[in-house]
């Protein structure tokens, strides 16, 4: 906790300063609320409107979690398969990169045409944005395993399976977590975009309704929750990373002789 205060007070101070400036200027210049509501107004809406938007929030959490889990599994699957079979990697890797060059906003309506308004096209959107960072990061981690260690394992008589389980996979875990952290934040974004396409509930729906009725304060509430959700996901993954890669944080500066 102390460490958090120690590291967080500078950005915290800047944030408070910016908010104060915003609040003051919107009062001094009498900016209309539909154009740019003051932070205090947004805060009030966030508290009083809870009962109106809470189901939207939970729906988005569910959707992004589902998409994230499927996207992660798919990303790992792709990474391992492409790593194991070099000929597959050569044929599919460029296609995977191409798949990321299609703007999601263009692809999304197509998915709706093909799969309707259910949860399927939405999950596909999230999976598409999630799997790429994980697949690429994990594949790199697997590929960069120290050649000398592989030689050691081979000479010790390890089977390919043992080399993968005991050497390459653990070696790829830190890289995989870099991918996971990016995907975790992308998954919330993917969920909101997919909800714009047409959904009954979700932060994306709430946001579209708010902006079309000029409830700018609600748009900001939505933005706030999207940021919070992304941060929360990021934090959970970071914690998991810390506890799973303890060996990385230890040592280095504390050598013994």
């Amino acid at each position: 906790m102390n460490k958090l205060i120690h590291r967080g007070w500078r950005p915290g101070l800047v944030l408070i300063l910016l908010l104060t400036l915003w609040e003051a200027s919107s009062r001094v210049f009498e900016v209309p609320d539909w154009l740019l509501p003051a932070p205090s107004l947004i805060w009030q809406e966030a508290i009083h409107g809870w009962s109106q938007y809470s189901h939207h929030l939970f729906s988005t959490i569910q959707l992004s979690l589902l998409g994230f889990v499927i996207g992660t599994s798919f990303g790992l699957f792709v990474a391992i398969i492409l790593h194991m079979v070099p000929s597959l990697r050569e044929s599919f890797y460029p296609l995977i990169i191409l798949s990321q060059n299609i703007p999601i906003i263009v692809l999304a309506p197509l998915l709706v045409i093909w799969f309707g308004f259910g949860w399927l096209p939405k999950v596909i959107v999230i999976v598409l944005v999630c799997f790429f960072p994980i697949a690429v990061a994990t594949m790199d981690g697997l590929k960069q395993t120290n050649q000398e260690l592989i030689h050691y394992m081979k000479m010790a008589g390890a089977s390919n399976g043992q080399i993968f389980r005991k050497l390459q996979w653990p070696h790829a875990v830190p890289s995989m977590f870099s991918g996971l952290k990016i995907s975790a934040t992308y998954s919330v974004m993917g969920a909101v975009i997919s909800e714009w396409l047409g959904a009954n509930e979700g932060i994306g729906v709430y946001m579209t309704l708010a902006s079309s009725s000029f409830r700018t304060d609600r748009v900001f509430v939505a933005i706030f929750f999207i940021m919070m959700l992304s941060l929360l996901f990021f934090g959970v993954i970071s914690q998991a990373e810390k506890s799973l890669t303890k060996w990385q944080s230890k040592g280095g500066d504390q050598q013994h002789d």
Binding site: M155, K166, K250
Partner: protein
């Protein structure tokens, strides 16, 4: 009794011949050093013994069994400690045994204690000094079920003082466990101090240029290195090495 026997081994990569018609053997509980200029194909020789790739010609026998191109027959300790950074020291020293399918925690703990690594069982390799890592790496070789240990310049990355400590430590451990050891080095003193026999390799393509049987009695003390006889031996081997390069 012959432990390892290498017969007329040849290997080339592309058009470059690395090892040419090389024969040598290691007896039971014998400490044999291979001495040669850098780049003389010593590591290739180990990779061949370890079965990473097959030779063009020649055979390798361990305990009279043919192991040419077969993996998992020897216990290997590479130049860098090559401990897995995500495993604790205890799990690391058990790796060789684990690959073969049997872990013996108690023996491992006992050996770590004897190696002066007691209390570091749960530490990660990054927390250990270079010498300690090499000790752990050697314990890993000892705990592996294979009877022949091949060490590839294990102390070359250490500083002079640590290296001497490690050599004495290796001798004391080896005299206790008496395993057959094939030791690659480019350090003449190290080879003299440790070995029963020294095999001098020629420049590329490598073959056995000469063989010396080292007469010093065991257990050997550090003071041995300063005796006239030791220095004479050093001169002989030095001249032998220089003649060829």
């Amino acid at each position: 009794m012959t432990k390892l026997s290498i017969e007329r081994l040849s290997k080339s990569f592309g058009s470059e011949s690395i090892i040419d018609n090389l024969s040598l053997h290691v007896n039971e509980a014998e400490f044999v050093s291979i001495l040669g200029p850098s780049g003389s194909g010593k590591s290739t020789l180990f990779h061949l013994i370890g079965g990473l790739y097959p030779p063009e010609k020649g055979e390798i026998y361990l305990d009279e069994q043919r192991i040419t191109g077969k993996r998992g027959a020897i216990s290997y300790m590479p130049q860098s400690s090559s401990l897995l950074p995500w495993r604790t020291i205890l799990d690391n020293v058990l790796l060789g045994a684990e690959i073969a399918g049997k872990r013996d925690m108690e023996t491992a703990r006992g050996m770590l204690n004897k190696a002066g690594l007691g209390g570091y069982e749960a530490a990660y390799p990054s927390q250990l000094s270079g010498g300690m890592k090499q000790r752990a790496s050697f314990i890993r070789s000892l705990l592996s079920p294979q009877s022949l240990i091949c060490l590839d310049e294990p102390f070359s990355a250490l500083d002079e003082f640590t290296r001497l400590e490690m050599q004495k430590w290796l001798l004391s451990i080896w005299e206790h466990y008496k395993r057959s050891i094939l030791f690659v080095t480019h350090n003449i003193e190290e080879a003299l101090f440790l070995s029963d026999r020294i095999i001098v390799l020629s420049n590329k393509p490598a073959h056995v240029q000469r063989e010396f049987t080292i007469p010093f009695t065991r257990p050997r003390e550090e003071s041995l290195m300063l005796t006239q006889e030791f220095l004479e031996w050093k001169k002989t081997i030095y001249n032998e090495l220089r003649e060829f390069s």
